[in-house]
Amino acid sequence: MKAFWRDLAARWRAGAPAVPEGWQASLGSDRFRLAREADWARLERIVGLLEKGRPRAIADADLLALPGLYRQAASALAVARGTMLDAAVQAYLEALVQRAWFQLYGPNIGLGGWLAGFLAGGWPRAVRALAVDIAICLIVLALGTAVGWLLCAADPQWFGALVGDMAQGRNPAASPAALRATLFGHTQESGLSVLAAYLFGHNAQIALLEFALGFVVGVPSLLLLVQNAALLGAFLWLFAGAGLLPEAAGWLAVHGTTELFALVLAAAAGLHMGRAVAFPGRAGVLEAVSAAGRRAALVMLGVVAMLFVAGLLEGFARQLIEPTAARMALGGLMLVLWLAYFGLVGRGGEAP
């Protein structure tokens, strides 16, 4: 604990006291150090400013000298290790070179610039790199929906088991009129923006979980997708029974094309990572997982953005647009937009 406070205090204190004029070090290795410590202090000052995120405060001359100063300090460290027995100087140089190395070889792009590159091509490229996984997840989605429908058709008891407390009055016992009321007539509803924000946060956390579960060989990602697909199938079965299938499809399509797409991408990202865990190929497991994980993480950031759009559509557009045809058109338009974006944007770049 004492050492912790001493280290903390050392971060704020200045460096070594200057050597008085005319004094001479008696050791050659200390003379070596005294001849260079002004350069080290200069490097330390520049690195400190870079760490504070204030590169503009660095003078042009300092910026030009930075690579040279860094190499000098690195070579001084190598010399000190071979010729010098001053532990304090070695520790100082070790820390200084490390800090400079992290700055020189650190992320060379800010969050803003990186995001721009991400939208202009990084994201669609990452999605295209997951084509196989997306295909698998689409098949799983279709199968899951069919299973949900067929289970409910065979035995309506399944509806309660699949949907649970998300039904909110939508159950096989409800009259067609009551079911219709859940699809339409929310135009006057207040609190739409709250609903949108809540839905976004909720869905985004589910999608992140779906991705993160991919770490466990991808199986939980697929299970979660199947669960959601079966839920979808059960709902469609319920409304089809009341003769409301097109209306229900329209109600879903407004945000569903975006949201289901995002969920499929999230599951595909999880599966992609899971496949690397199970079948790393020629690379070691750690390298394979790390490469796949970075691709999948790019896709996931996009998924969160898509879910934000879906939350807006679900919270606002669905409640404000009533005609089924208009709902279908909006949902279809969103699907076409996403497909065009993922299929066409950023074709020239290098796949992640």
Partner: protein, 295 residues
């Protein structure tokens, strides 16, 4: 060069210099995480208080209801962004560390010594979900179907999850959590040292009134020199007297009497011993400690 202990990793820079990185301690990392969560809580709490203040200022009425809603939406979005972007934004910064990590002197780095890129930082932080939220979410996912009995099982499942994934850093040599494995990163100490004074400076070339013969300087090696340097730099009287007494006894001198004399004696012995050992280094002779045979 070989790592000196289990927590040290070597990193070869492009210039051919090997840097020694120290892996962060597991407890320190947990502390950094708790600090970050506490700071997030503080920020969200302050935001909530500020928004409440604004809401109170609005008074009643229909227009105020709409504004209230907007404030609530703002808070919901802010909490989501804060929860997910806190680690991402800070670790992408020039320090490669969240405020919690920075306070405890840690940072993240790539395992292979390559550039720390945005997608790596993204991957390691998205996986945080599997460690932090999943153990809490698993009971929710499983517990919906089974009632009280199911809840017990799902609690057990959540606990097992926690042990397996949140505890992963306990089970591997590099202290990687799942996010580190996926992103190819690890968490290391970010040393920050100031340059200590040069000990051999104040005496001039002769080394003061003390002169030690080659045989007297052959009594010790590099390890003892390191201990002597530490004692001199800390400057506490009791250890200095003890060390001075031990050296004097070993080389057959009378122990120095008062504090000033002790300091001069130790400084002179340090400087001359270091000079002799460093001269040996130039010729390729190294002596690790007093137990190694003198050349």
């Amino acid at each position: 060069m070989t790592p000196s202990d289990a927590a040290e990793r070597l990193l070869q820079t492009a210039e051919g210099v090997t840097l020694r990185l120290r892996l962060a301690g597991r407890g320190t990392r947990l502390g950094a995480l708790l600090l970050d969560l506490a700071l997030q809580g503080l920020v969200l709490g302050a935001l909530a208080l500020a928004l409440l203040g604004i809401a109170r200022g609005l008074g009643g009425g229909k227009a105020a209801g709409g504004a209230l809603q907007a404030l609530f939406v703002l808070w919901l979005l802010a909490s989501f962004v804060l929860r997910n972007a806190w680690f991402l934004g800070f670790e992408l910064g020039p320090r490669g560390a969240t405020p919690g990590k920075r306070m405890l002197g840690l940072r993240i780095a790539t395992r292979d010594g390559s550039r720390l890129t945005a997608d790596r930082v993204l991957a390691r932080n998205l996986l945080r979900e599997v460690e932090l939220s999943a153990p809490l979410a698993v009971p929710g996912l499983l517990g919906t179907s089974g009632g009280a009995h199911g809840l017990g099982w799902s609690m057990a499942a959540g606990l097992a999850w926690l042990v397996l994934f949140a505890g992963l850093p306990l089970f591997n040599r590099d202290r990687l959590r799942p996010g580190d494995i996926v992103a190819g990163t690890w968490v290391v100490e970010a040393p920050h040292r100031r340059l200590a004074a040069a000990l051999s400076v104040p005496q001039g070339p002769a080394g003061g009134p003390y002169r030690f013969s080659a045989a007297e300087l052959a009594a010790y090696g590099e390890y003892e020199l390191g201990v002597l340097e530490k004692v001199l730099r800390e400057g506490a009287p009791a250890p200095m007297a003890a060390v001075a007494g031990a050296i004097a006894a070993r080389i057959g001198w009378h122990p120095p009497a008062d504090a000033e004399e002790i300091h001069a004696f130790l400084l002179a012995y340090y400087t001359q011993l270091r000079g002799r050992l460093e001269a040996g280094m130039q010729l390729g002779h190294r002596r690790a400690s007093k137990h190694a045979p003198p050349r």
